[in-house]
Symmetry: C2
Subunit: 244 residues, 2 copies
DNA sequence: CGCCTTCTTGAGATGACTCAATGGTGGTGG
DNA sequence: CCACCACCATTGAGTCATCTCAAGAAGGCG
């Protein structure tokens, strides 16, 4: 990981904070990192020194069982905040791995603690962000627990398709209704709690049904209505600006 | 639902706030409710006017699919905060139903919004609480996605057993290592994403293995070590006081 | 006493899994 | 420019965990 001074100001965490109130960030250190695809940003159990904002690239949050089984908790897109958890001083309760090359802004955990205790705007932003993440996590719990393979995958694809539109416009092509999609079938499997082989067969069904095209790291939505219906997906769960 | 003035002060949400700083709550309306077992506190899609703190009783958070399938997101115990979500002004994204008779303290949503924007202590408390809830939700996602019936149920039982110890001491009997447990098998099923019938068979296995006793709404942990091992349960995920 | 809810158990069905082999594609190095 | 390798996707065939359907049994309650 290389490290330089972080040049970017408009981080998602602070997106709701007027620019003229950002002066307090001057007091805190921050620095930019890059990591290669397939590298771990941190591992469950590790004592990470930082929290991060993802500037570019795709990453996954996951947990691993002793038997090696992995559950992907979330796909992280640019603007997402990584490494925050209730116990900021303790070991990480999940791992994060880069899917593509990623650039991140690192922030010392101790500083975040101090800021949270002193900065109302930041704390309020965090409340909103966490609540949104929670809503998504609950959607995944619903999908994993009570949807079959096809429904769960349909939901996941729709979710990512829309999140890319909102968080990473340059990877979205409105004319073809397609997005960059670097997620392997094995990762889809670990996200929805099924087997890679079964993901493969289910994707074939989705292709046969002319709902999607998924080749060369690109996902095209051919029949959005039916796909959304199948997955039980409703865009409103991703509201960019909740009316807190 | 009957409504009277709320007489209680030491709500969990404010547990970290020194009592002498609680004066600001005087400015906000709050009132106590009671609801019967099996009554809904609010339904997904409804525009609830309040958020709540659960004083006594058990409740469940859940989501429902069009086909009627239900996924329980969380079991709520005394001290838990209900009804908070990213979009405080929009419709609820989940439902809450009382398992036993419950008493709650209701707080107008608009007031919470205002408080969040003006009260640093409250915002910080909310950040911590949400982060803890998130950790639990992720544990459930892991269980539902990547554990088998036996492991997932073992985890759930251990989790609730410990949460009762921490949040509702009078329902915990240390001499017999047992807790009050009003959750039906069908609810366990909806919490871990399997069928009631299969829950029943799995519980039988757990009983045969002398790991638990579960009768008459009471859960006894007979072999905590093996049960925790089976479920992959680690108490530390429930830390009462994260070191924010 | 009868009804309702919850628990229990059996038997057959099936969605998803495992194991295993094949094929494609991109990168790398000789 | 080709050979090789690593990684991912694909497909077949048999197995298994979990589901579905169905019927009783065991309380609790009006």
């Amino acid at each position: 990981m290389q490290c330089v001074e972080c040049p970017v100001r408009e981080r998602a965490l602070f997106s709701g904070v007027p620019l003229d109130r950002l002066s307090w960030t001057q007091n805190y250190r921050e620095s930019q990192y890059e990591i290669e695809a397939k590298q771990e940003l941190y591992l469950e159990g590790a004592h990470s020194q930082f929290v991060y904002t993802l500037f570019s690239g795709w990453a996954i949050f996951y947990k691993t069982l002793e038997n090696g089984n992995r559950q992907i908790l979330r796909v992280a897109l640019p603007g997402d905040f990584l490494g925050f958890q209730a116990d900021l001083s303790g070991p990480m309760n999940h791992s994060v791995k880069a899917v593509t090359m990623c650039t991140l802004c690192a922030f010392p955990r101790g500083d975040l603690k101090a800021m949270l205790k002193s900065n109302l705007e930041l704390a309020t932003q965090m409340v909103i962000m966490n609540a949104k993440d929670m809503a998504l996590c609950q959607q995944h719990l619903l999908a994993t627990g009570r949807k079959n393979a096809m429904e769960a995958i349909a939901f996941l694809l729709m979710e990512i398709y829309y999140r890319v539109q909102m968080q990473n416009k340059n990877e979205y092509d409105p004319t073809t209704k397609s997005v960059f999609f670097p997620i392997a079938q094995e990762e889809i499997a670990d996200a929805v709690g099924i087997t890679p082989v079964h993901v493969n067969r289910t994707l074939r069904e989705l292709r046969n049904g002319k709902l999607i095209r998924l080749t060369d790291r690109r996902l095209t939505i051919l029949n959005e209505d039916v796909l959304a219906e199948t997955g039980g997906f409703d865009v409103s769960i991703l509201q960019k600006h909740p009316l807190l």
